[in-house]
């Protein structure tokens, strides 16, 4: 499926120092691109709430994806926290 990248996701990558983690994200994108449906991607889970939004856990980080017309928008890649409001 097609993958697109938001400016928020791009900014999150700028703050990522761990090279191995970058490789893991790279691999996750490969997997999403190769999938015909997002639900085929390993470790993915749909978030409750408004809109078809999903998350993939990659170690201590969360890859947030919005699905629209079979396009996966990678929105954020953020470290787990107890207060996500501060990350907006």
């Amino acid at each position: 499926m097609e993958v697109r990248y938001t400016a928020g996701f791009d900014r999150d990558l700028d703050r990522l120092r761990d090279t191995q983690l970058r490789r893991r994200v790279d691999g996750a994108i490969d997997e999403i691109e190769a999938a015909s449906r997002l639900t085929e991607v390993s470790g993915i889970r749909r978030l409750t709430g408004v809109g078809p939004r999903y998350r993939i856990r990659i170690r201590k980080y969360r890859l947030i994806i919005l699905l629209e017309e079979n396009v996966a928008y990678l929105e954020r890649f953020i470290r787990r926290s107890n207060d996500y409001r501060e990350l907006r």
Binding site: V3, R4, Y5, T6, A7, G8, F9, D10, L13, D14, R15, L16, R17, D18, T19, R22, R23, V25, D26, I29, R45, L47, T48, G49, V50, G51, R53, R55, R59, K60, R62, I64, L66, E68, Y73, L74, E75, R76, R79, R80, S81, N82, D83, Y84, R85, L87, R88
Partner: protein, 161 residues
């Protein structure tokens, strides 16, 4: 459940105790005074203190020491430029470096951060918070997007560039 938690806690403490540590003045070999301070104030150190254990001064590999020094330098530069600068991502990277040095599993570092209240207590709570955070975001216009070429270059950069 309690037994399981206690077992994970014991495992963390055992891993920290079993790794080679530097002597009391050994922090000097880390080169940068800020590195010693960063180690003493990392999340693992705070968790150990809450369990009556002192954070040892770890005998880092050359790469770990170099990575730590870079993070400490970047944090100092950010704070010098703006005392209110957000350096949470750098502090998190130092935490991860310490977890990795001691070979902690995801279950172990999750327990540490949950017990200090740094992350949600359950996956469900976390997912609900993520959904709330993202509510209202999107759809995205073309000008909100970044090319795959730029993203892949960042992900495949050799040294985090």
């Amino acid at each position: 459940m309690v037994d399981s938690k206690a077992s994970v806690e014991r495992s963390v403490i055992e891993k920290v105790r079993s790794r080679v540590s530097l002597n009391v003045n050994g922090g000097d070999s880390l080169g940068e005074a800020g590195c010693v301070s960063a180690i003493r104030s990392c999340t693992l150190a705070r968790w150990l203190a809450s369990h009556g254990e002192a954070m040892p001064m770890p005998a880092l590999s050359a790469k770990e020491a170099r990575d730590l020094a870079l993070l400490v330098e970047e944090m100092a530069a950010d704070k010098a430029a703006d005392p209110d600068a957000d350096t949470l991502h750098l502090e998190a990277a130092i935490d991860d470096l310490m977890y990795d040095h001691y070979g902690l599993t995801e279950e172990e570092d999750t327990l540490i951060e949950r017990s200090l209240g740094l992350i949600f207590q359950t996956d469900e709570e976390e997912d609900e918070a993520l959904a709330r955070m993202m509510d209202g975001m999107g759809p995205y216009d073309p000008e909100d997007l970044v090319s795959e070429e730029i993203i892949r270059a960042k992900l495949r950069a050799v040294d985090g560039g």
